[in-house]
């Protein structure tokens, strides 16, 4: 799952997947701005066949937030 998340993030944000780790968030990655967050959420919904709630979208403001949200939904 991590690699799929990283691939989507890399395609959406235009950064190499190797630059994405547990510390990655809009604070550490300038490409990840509020506009791109909307795009990223759309792309992740499509990739994982899910619809996120507003609270989930807020919780997804970091790589670990995305991973945890998807793990919870996968249960």
């Amino acid at each position: 799952m991590e690699s799929r998340i990283k691939q989507v993030m890399s395609q959406v944000l235009g950064v190499d997947a190797s630059r994405i780790d547990d510390q990655t968030s809009p604070h550490t990655l300038k490409e990840w701005d509020s506009l791109q967050h909307v795009t990223l959420v759309l792309a992740l919904q499509e990739e994982f066949g899910l619809e996120f709630s507003h609270d989930e979208v807020l919780a997804m403001m970091s790589f670990t937030g995305i991973r945890d949200t998807l793990k919870t939904r996968a249960k």
Binding site: G14, L35, E46, H54
Partner: protein
């Protein structure tokens, strides 16, 4: 279409790594909207670029439609995505039950805004304007709420005053295909004013694609059809001519009769029809000759490739003979094997397989007919099948003459020069947009610009219709000349000829007709220009050949002058000229 099978993240990656090919003008697109819709930029760029249209899309600022329309006047395409539901926060909360007086005021206000946007966008060759739809506010079934009335009135207003460059887009039809539930993304709307789902935008782009492709000169033009179980039910080589189903007295016969009628209707609209079938040629000929219930006749077909060779090669040969790109070709066959192999070998060709559930076949043809939608089609486009047939007859005659002049003399060429004729605005704009090779200055003009030239007393538009003993080539040349009647001078702004009439010395006689008319207006001196492009090298010395004198020599072009008194007539006596009007 690729937009349906590609994930959004992959589209973004593709768009990011895409580069505009060197020497190519981008196809510039602007999107105006009062909702957040930059995902449409991503999907549209992807769809157009993968179809070979070098699109560069710019999204206007959020809810700045009126002001941004002035910034987007130089775009090739503008999409106006105006969402009635988001006209104002106040309106949204009052919803369906707005007071009568308030409603009237708002309608007046919006109509004015719409008018000023359409006015600002008048130089843009194509404007896609979404019809207003009330469905974001909920679909009322029996009650006529305020939203329904707002949308209805605004739509009526646009329909009544719609300029020629505007095409209305039925977003409700797009929503119906996606389902209303999947059209709107409410979480995204209340978070960031993004209203439409990705699947809606995919369907939207697919729906408007034919109009955009036509405007970008990439319209589908030829439909290549298989025969057995595609034009008629049954296999001629096995079942024999009399057994084939095509008369509407049986289930299958009704379907194939309707299929042929639909194809014939496309041909009426100017689509070129060709056959590509694995059969003995005489078997197929026997069906056309022997079955009086064939709706399609042999004369409806621009060419036939019947034999046992590879279909991809046959399709390439058809495109070559018609001088069309493979991206203009649509192919229909009942064999999945043939469809797949054509798709693999010629990915630019759009392919369709006749459905196994044969009752779905007419519906499939109706939807593929949409691919040929071309609002920019002219009389010349619609007559193409006949023109190709004429060209084939000319080629036969040409082979008999050893000498070019004898051949040209035998053609009995006749020019009709029509001056500033408003009936020809569409064709003149099309010639200015599409002609690349025999085009001295390659200035592109829209219909509204050409219409303005027609009305301008200091401007003369010369359109030339060419005909010969074999038929009519249609309007195939254009000169745009501006006049300074005080100085007795004129400037040849544009001089072009369609490639279909080159090699006949028509350009010399056409220029002489222009000169003759200018002299009759008292003009003494003309200026003319050559502007180099990657495609017009063949006319680099055209003005030199006519003995105009060079007045300026620049890097990418040259300017010329000619005193009309010293102009020598060309020694060509085999091309007739008259001045007249379009039939």
């Amino acid at each position: 279409m690729l937009v349906n099978s590609t994930k959004y993240a992959e589209m973004l990656a593709f768009n990011r790594s895409w580069k505009l090919p060197a020497g190519v003008e981008p196809y510039t697109v602007g999107i105006l909207s009062n909702i957040v819709i930059y995902q449409l930029k991503d999907v549209l760029e992807y769809a157009l670029r993968t179809a070979g249209i070098p699109a560069s899309v710019q999204v206007g600022e959020y809810d700045n439609v009126v002001q941004d329309s002035l910034r987007f006047r130089d775009k090739r395409l503008v999409v106006v995505f105006w969402e009635a539901f988001n006209f104002s926060d106040q309106l949204r909360s009052k919803g369906q039950y707005l007071a009568e007086a308030e409603l009237a005021d708002l309608l007046l206000h919006w109509k004015r805004q719409i008018d000023s946007v359409l006015e600002a966008l008048s130089p843009v060759p194509l404007v896609l304007f979404n019809r207003f739809s009330p469905w974001a506010a909920g679909a009322l079934v029996v009650e006529d709420g305020a939203w329904g009335r707002i949308c209805r009135e605004l739509n009526q207003h646009i329909e009544q005053s719609k300029p020629a460059n505007v095409i209305l887009v039925d977003v409700a039809a797009v929503a119906a295909q996606v389902s209303i539930r999947e059209t709107f993304d409410w979480r995204n709307f209340y978070e960031s004013r993004v209203l439409y789902s990705l699947n809606f935008l995919r369907q939207y782009v697919q729906g408007v694609f034919p109009a955009v492709a036509a405007a970008a000169g990439r319209a589908k033009k030829v439909l290549v059809l298989d025969c057995d179980d595609t034009l008629w039910g049954g296999i001629v080589g096995e079942d024999g001519v009399p057994a084939l189903a095509m008369t509407p007295d049986t289930f299958k016969g009704m379907i194939f009769h309707e299929a042929q009628s639909l194809y014939a209707a496309l041909r009426e609209r100017g689509v070129l029809l060709a056959l590509c079938s694995k059969n003995n040629p005489e078997d197929v000929d026997a069906v056309f000759a022997g079955r009086t219930d064939m709706v399609l006749k042999s004369s409806d077909l621009v060419c036939k490739k019947v034999g046992w060779g590879n279909k991809a090669e046959a399709i390439e040969a058809i495109a070559r003979e018609l001088n069309l790109g493979l991206d203009a070709v649509v192919f229909v066959d009942d064999s999945e094997f043939e469809v797949r192999s054509v798709k693999d070998m010629l990915p630019q060709v759009t392919t369709f397989c006749v459905p196994q559930a044969i009752q779905d076949y007419p519906g499939m043809i109706r939807s593929l007919a949409g691919l040929f939608f071309n609002p920019f089609a002219t009389k010349e486009d619609r007559q193409k099948t006949e023109m190709y047939a004429q060209e084939a007859r000319r080629e036969l005659v040409r082979a008999k003459f050893g000498n070019m002049e004898d051949y040209l003399r035998s053609l009995k060429l006749q020019l009709r020069v029509m001056i500033s004729d408003p009936a020809l605005v569409g064709r003149m704009a099309q010639l200015s947009q599409k002609t690349n090779q025999f085009n001295l200055t390659t200035r592109r003009y829209t219909e509204s610009q050409i219409a303005a030239f027609c009305d301008d007393g200091n401007c003369a538009l010369f359109a030339v219709n060419v005909a010969d003993a074999f038929g009519d080539y249609g309007v195939t040349g254009l000169a745009v000349v501006t006049l300074d009647r005080h100085k007795l001078e004129a400037d040849v702004d544009t001089f072009l000829l369609s490639c279909r009439v080159l090699g006949r010395n028509i350009e010399l006689v056409f220029f002489e007709a222009v000169v003759g008319w200018l002299k009759s207006q008292g003009i003494k001196r003309i200026t003319a220009h050559y502007r180099a492009t990657p495609k017009n090298a063949q006319v680099a010395d055209f003005w030199d050949r006519l003995a105009l004198s060079r007045s300026a020599d620049g890097g990418s072009g040259r300017d010329y002058v000619l005193s009309l008194d010293s102009y020598n007539k060309q020694p060509i006596d085999y091309i007739g000229v008259e001045y007249g009007k379009q039939d």
